[in-house]
Structure formats: structure tokens, C-alpha cells
Homo-oligomer: 194 residues x 2
């Protein structure tokens, strides 16, 4: 997503191969040699183009939530956002897991933290703050409270991703989709509304 258009063909091949392998097998289980084979180029080129394996990882593991997920009336944002996350599964899951499992490296942890902050906390906060005084909001928030609500909401969302993707709780995964959206959406809504 963040690869320049005018990059040489070999660099782009590396980028795509890396993105696929990292999301599929994670950071530790993906070797530079494997990426090179997949991209049909020489292993030395991988380092030459990206500096290090970790650098390549961070350039390819960039996730974009998209502001559209936060649109619409705030009193039903909870359900809509859960539905959005479940739909986005295929796009986000691999990147999320790879970042999570490699988050002992401080470089990668910083990356994960930024993704959480910019992908969840900030948009939630913006959306919540913009609804201050909204008649639908039962407890108008000052700016500190908007921040707190946003972080609580982000944590709740993280909990669902954790249960579904890391732990793979089958009891949750096998719930009817509509039930999960409604019930977990209500919990998220409670965090948003305060």
C-alpha cells in the first residue's frame, strides 16, 4: 500500500512476496530466502532494497482501517463497527496476527502501537468528540472523557479480535453473525456512549 509507483520491478516483487508470506506465516517463520524465492530474485536484493528484514516487515505490514467505518449515527456505531471488523477479516487478520506475535521487537511494537492509536483510538475519539451536545448522546463528553471513551472502545474491539483470531474461541466464532454483531456491538456501544 505504501510502495512507490516508480519502484523497480524487483523491489515491487519483493514487496508483494513479503506481504503474502508475512501475513500467512508471520515474521519469525518467514525467511529472507523464502521471500526471494517467491519473488524470483536473489536473497541479497531483499536486504539491498529494504535495509533489513524488519524494515521490510514494517513497510509491508501497514494496515489501513479507513475513515468510512466510523461514519453514520453515533448511537449505532457499536454494531456497525463490529460488522465492519468481521467483514474486514480477510484483509486485516494476517497483518494483525503478524504484528502481535512479533511485538517483542521494540521496532515492531512501536508500529503496532501506532496502528492501534491511529486506526482505532484516534478515529473513535474524533467521532465521539464531534457528537458532544448531540441530543442522541445521553452524557455529553468533555475532551478528556472523549479520549477515555475512545481508549475503552478500542480495548473492547481488541478483545474481539483477540478472542476470534488469537485464541480462536469457537463458541464465539460459531455464533450466528447477526447475534455476535448485536451483542458485542452493544458492549462496544456502551464503551462509546460512556
Amino acid at each position: 500500500m505504501s510502495l512507490p509507483e516508480n519502484a523497480p520491478a524487483s523491489k515491487r516483487a519483493i514487496w508483494h512476496a513479503a506481504q503474502r508470506l508475512f501475513t500467512e506465516n508471520g515474521f519469525a517463520r518467514t525467511s529472507v530466502r523464502e521471500i526471494a524465492t517467491e519473488a524470483a530474485i536473489d536473497p541479497a536484493l531483499v536486504i539491498r532494497h529494504f535495509g533489513s528484514k524488519e524494515q521490510l516487515f514494517m513497510e509491508t505490514m501497514d494496515v489501513d482501517i479507513g475513515a468510512a467505518a466510523f461514519d453514520g449515527p453515533i448511537e449505532t456505531l457499536g454494531e456497525r463497527f463490529i460488522a465492519f471488523v468481521l467483514d474486514a477479516d480477510a484483509d486485516i487478520r494476517g497483518i494483525y496476527l503478524a504484528l502481535l506475535r512479533a511485538s517483542d521487537s521494540t521496532g515492531i511494537w512501536t508500529h503496532l502501537r501506532a496502528a492501534h492509536e491511529e486506526g482505532f483510538v484516534r478515529p473513535f475519539r474524533t467521532r465521539i468528540a464531534s457528537s458532544v451536545g448531540d441530543p442522541a448522546d445521553p452524557a455529553p463528553a468533555d475532551s478528556a472523557d472523549a479520549d477515555t471513551r475512545a481508549r475503552l472502545a478500542a480495548a473492547v474491539v481488541g478483545g474481539l479480535l483477540y478472542s476470534l483470531w488469537v485464541v480462536r474461541d469457537e463458541g464465539l466464532a460459531h455464533l450466528e453473525r447477526e447475534t455476535l454483531v448485536r451483542r458485542y456491538g452493544a458492549l462496544l456501544q456502551a464503551a462509546i456512549t460512556g
Copy 2:
């Protein structure tokens, strides 16, 4: 915690060294040699006593939540459980992070899943089911609903651990403890109560 009393001294030394290093540095960043050095024994003994590094990891990374955390009136369990988790930080955090980050290996993932099921889901379900018909419970649950509530609650708890320990959201961590207990406790309570 699960090491037999009558185990030889060298085996127990390995066990303690491994537990410390794994919780501190994780699975990947801890080598068999390092464990041996810390335990002041020969590296070969580590494998001889425990079969493999992964086996040793799973035997030392056993977490015990303890049933006491689920005692007391169910209508205030949310707050009490969040307070309990925050207090238990030092004991659980390292093990939780190590398990999480090594959860790509299927053996370790199975272990994490079992810990989640037995440490969170099952006790929540038992506690919720035993309160059916309780006048304090506004919506008495059948057994399927008790299971669903327990899994939603476990996910919400996981979200807090995720935000505090993996992402290290400072905005959450720097909230006054009592505020966090009250507000996140209310969210957990909503999951429990349904």
C-alpha cells in the same frame, strides 16, 4: 507450579530458570543454552529432562487464575474482576505475553486456548449459570446463553489485557486505577449480565 516435589535438584533448577527467562524475554528470545547457564547446569540436561524446548515452555507457562476471583455477588463481579486482574499483573503478565507471542506454534496455541477456556470462559459460565433465577439478574439465562455471556465476558477481559500489556496504551494505563476499575468494570458487567 506443576513441578513434582521429588524431581531432582537439577530439574527444578532448570524449571525455575526457564520460568524466569521465558516470562521475561519470551520463547523465541530465550535459548536452551541461556536457561542452562542460569540454572548452572549443562545444556544437554535441559533437553534430557524436558524432551524439548517447547515442552519445557508449556510446563512452565501454566497460569492459574484461581476460583476466588469469581466469588461474591454477581451484580458487581465486573468491577471486582477487573480489580483482580490489575492486581495480578506481575504474576500473569509475563506468561500471558509469552504465550501470546509464541502462539503460532500449534502446540503453544492449544495451550493458550486451554488457558483462556479454563481460566476465563469456564469459571464465568459456571458463575453465570449458578445465578439463574437470581433476583439480581435482570435476564435469567438458559445454559446456551450463559455460555455466550461467558465468552463475551472473556473477550472483554482479553481486550483490557491486550490494550494494557501488548499495545501498552498509556492513556489507559495512566487513568486513575479506580476510574479504570469502575468504567471497564461496567463494560465487563454488561457482558456478564447480558
